[in-house]
């Protein structure tokens, strides 16, 4: 006698932005088994990077691996190629690149918070966060010329400079945003229905985080101190006021809080960047052809993004290996679903901020 219900979630589902198929085995509404298919968005970018595109074009192609963290993709690829070319960017370029990455982190985290709220059935909060998020989208659009795909970073520098008007706009909008974020922190902490929905739900313990190699906000919410920004020396993060945000409970609430506090931290860093922007060229010539093997890690909004690039002195690269944060987080995600209620599943899923187009490439 079979008493389990099978519930599909995806590949098309209103709570999903991206196609991922879950098949939940449920007893009543309690999930006892999960089966997932994550390969819907596989387009073959890794192969195309070595067969169809020259190394200078690849930066734009890998940005299309993921729309949310496009900037980190092109950044890590560019860094890797620059390492192979033996080129070190000047401080202004570094700062501008960091500014874009941090702005991207803010908008990505806000989207995740909004999406989690929407999936928890809190439409007003979704609208509130989406409305506030437009502040940061305006800044991004003004700086890079596009709202989502920035195409801001190219080998040897960045494509656009920061004019004084843009600095003023950024300052203004960041100031407005930081007030809104403070209000949000209060709301997330005190709302009774949100605490029913978030606290103690979808818990990833510290032990599990270690075992399943969790990363990014997922790990930091469980208390695992890992952040590529603190583990690499490509960018001067410490000098700009970076602090690692840690929570301990590992539930949805903790993940939301890690994101909220990281936004606060990122806003502070962005302000530091535009205040202390060094003077220099924004585009320098990086000559030669990539030769050898280089490894780059960058902290994307979802965690560690890993690039391994190998070239043999030609226009075409030999291998571009992309390891994205969600790809590593999937085993941990599966673990969290077991024992949760189906009613919470969309919210839990959104709180992981999964990026399927990253995962499947």
């Amino acid at each position: 006698m079979k008493k389990t219900i099978q519930i599909p979630l995806g590949s098309q589902h209103i709570s999903l932005l991206e196609p991922i198929r879950f098949k939940f085995e449920c007893e009543n509404e309690k999930i006892i088994g999960v089966d997932a298919d994550v390969g819907f968005v596989h387009r073959g970018v890794e192969l195309a990077c070595t067969r169809s595109f020259e190394f200078k074009q690849v930066g734009y192609v890998v940005a299309r691996v993921c729309g949310l963290c496009a900037i980190t993709h092109s950044l890590s690829y560019t860094l890797a190629v620059e390492k192979l070319l033996g080129y070190v960017a000047n401080d202004r370029i570094k700062y501008l690149r960091m500014l874009m990455v941090e702005l991207d982190r803010i908008h990505s985290h806000m989207l995740c918070l909004a999406h989690t709220a929407e999936n928890a059935g809190f439409e007003a909060l979704f609208m509130q966060i989406m409305g506030d998020r437009e502040l940061i989208m305006d800044v991004q659009e003004a700086i890079s010329g596009n709202r989502v795909q920035f195409d801001y970073i190219s080998i040897g520098g960045v494509n656009r400079d920061l004019t004084p008007e843009l600095v003023a706009l950024t300052h203004k909008n960041l100031g407005l945003l930081s007030e809104k974020i403070d209000a949000l922190i209060g709301l997330f902490d005190n709302n009774w229905s949100l605490s029913l929905k978030y606290k103690g739900v979808g818990v990833l313990s510290l032990e599990e985080a270690y075992t399943y190699n969790a990363l990014g906000p997922l790990a930091r919410a469980a208390g695992l101190a890992t952040d590529v920004r603190a583990e690499t020396s490509d960018f001067p993060y410490e000098a700009l006021g970076y602090t690692m945000i840690l929570e301990s409970t590992g539930d949805i609430h903790a993940r939301n809080f890690v994101r909220l506090r990281e936004i606060v931290n990122s806003i502070a860093m962005c302000r530091n960047i535009i205040e202390n922007l060094p003077i220099g060229e924004i585009q320098e010539k990086a000559k030669g052809k990539p030769n050898g093997e280089a490894v780059v890690r960058v902290e994307a909004p979802r965690g560690e993004l890993f690039y391994l690039v190998r070239g043999s002195g030609q226009n075409m690269l030999d291998r571009v290996r992309i390891k994205t944060p969600t790809f590593s987080a999937i085993p941990a995600m599966m673990e969290v679903f077991k024992g949760a209620e189906y009613a919470d599943a969309p919210a839990i899923l959104a709180s992981f901020d999964p990026c399927m187009s990253c995962t499947a490439k």
Binding site: G39, G44, Y210, T226, E231, R297, K323, F327, S328
Partner: protein
């Protein structure tokens, strides 16, 4: 970045001797096709809280030799192993194909000149 060469038969022992979940973060399994049926497999680790510490264990292998699975040691390795099964057509015990590619679509895109 430190690269350590090992062999498929001693891989599990080598990694087991050095991998502690609280100290090391397992990044990924990676394959690089070297042409002529040769393939370089890499297991990449980074250290928590230490700057720029990456260790890569690598093996030069061919398409037919079965690859040992790390799942007993590192549960999350399953994703990377399934990926190389799909993309290179290697055999890893315990890892099924079908992560990215369907049975009737083109097989093993990253393998050589296929």
């Amino acid at each position: 970045m430190k690269k350590i060469e090992t062999t498929l038969s001693t891989l599990l022992r080598d990694i087991g001797a050095f991998y502690i979940p609280k100290l090391w973060h397992f990044l990924s399994v990676n394959g690089i096709d070297l042409g002529e049926g040769k393939i370089e497999l890499q297991w990449i680790f980074s250290a928590y809280g230490v700057k720029d510490e990456i260790v890569i264990y690598y093996v030069l292998s061919d398409y037919n030799t079965p690859v040992p699975s790390l799942v007993s040691l590192i549960p999350s390795a399953i994703m990377g192993e399934r990926e190389i099964v799909d993309m290179f057509g290697l055999t890893v015990d315990g890892a099924e194909s079908g992560l990215y590619l369907d049975e009737d679509s083109r097989t093993h895109p990253l393998r050589g000149e296929s």
